[in-house]
Subunit: 213 residues, 2 copies
């Protein structure tokens, strides 16, 4: 079972993935594989470094798209597909939908080109369930900026520097994708982390065909 | 005018590009733009670092292909197209044909997929003249290994580690491309560097419609 987490900056994905992993470990007796994009394996992490470096402001939209595809191709082949084939649950922080939302709806690159590249990168490995943590961009950005200023230093902030309107387009893109794809579950990401975690558990339990405690 | 240099490892491209640049500067009164792939600008050089690092032996063929496309998209947008638009002569060490020869004929990835990605990366920026420095793979590899051992340390040797049969397939691929594309000029790369340089000058002069001295 392949579950992806999507949402704009600061929606709380990282925290929620960790909470869901704990819960799944208790419920199924087996720890899920936690991974993230861009990254998830050494080669893809090197690509991540290029993508998120705020010094790379001259990067064109196409370059960015090819780099995401490169990182994803490696990540799927080396981590995701082997784990799924071994019967594990994989929880991934961002995947193909993020590229469509950010590069397509956000930057305006043609959706058909993005989807074509993505099909080549994933070779048909599609999530069973995509949890979209939905949230107003203004609040999300404030959270992300505070977190980066506090913990990460100046290097990984390229996307947070984008204008609010960009993030609004990304959110709208995610909502369009959710409407078109039944594998999506829109989770209201406002409220305490415990409240959001409970919403996520309900969605996942329904999918796992297990009863919520 | 956009001139690319192609050929298997150790064919003498780097030396010959420098010699041609000197000659063109004298003949035209203007220094050409010298560049190379993968690389040619800061972001593409970061991608080059990932591609040529021999520690990255787990890299899949598709990942490699996307990384080449990423580096090329940036290089074309930032260096090649602006120089051509400014009326300069651009000399580039490897370009699209290298991807077709190495990833297609060498690694066996589908040529149609490579060409499709390449069209997206270059957005139609195609060389006016491609000089294929042709050479038996055995001799070329010996030269490349000697040069790397002497000058570059162990980090950039990933391709030289490939089997001789791989390089034979690459050479055959280049020769196929040359047969199909009239922009190719096959240059015999055996003999002293002065002899090869003279062959190249003859080809370029014919193309520039200038008389050879």
């Amino acid at each position: 079972m392949f579950i992806t987490f999507e949402g704009i900056e600061g929606c709380g994905k990282t925290t929620q993935i960790a909470l869901l992993a704990e819960w799944l470990t208790t419920r199924t007796g087996q720890a899920p594989v936690l991974t993230r994009e861009p990254g998830g394996c050494p080669i893809a992490n090197q690509v991540r470094g290029i993508l998120l470096d705020s010094a790379n402001h001259a990067m064109t939209g196409r370059t960015e798209l090819f780099l995401y595809a490169a990182a994803r191709a490696q990540h799927v082949a080396e981590v995701i597909r082997p784990a799924l084939e071994a019967g594990k649950i994989v929880l991934c922080d961002r995947y193909s939908d993020a590229t469509i939302a950010y590069q397509g709806y956000g930057r305006g690159l043609p959706l058909s080109m993005i989807m074509e590249l993505d099909t080549l990168a994933t070779e048909g490995t599609i999530p069973d369930l995509t949890l979209l943590l939905d949230f107003a961009p203004q609040t999300g950005l404030e959270r992300a900026c505070q977190r980066n200023a506090a913990a990460k230093g100046p290097d990984e902030g390229r996307f947070e520097q984008e204008a609010l309107t960009f993030h609004q387009r990304v959110r709208d893109g995610y909502l369009c994708l959710a409407k078109e794809n039944p594998r999506f579950c829109i989770v209201d990401a406002t409220g305490t982390k415990e409240v959001v975690a409970e919403r996520i558990r309900t969605a996942v339990a329904r999918h796992l065909d297990m009863r919520v405690p």
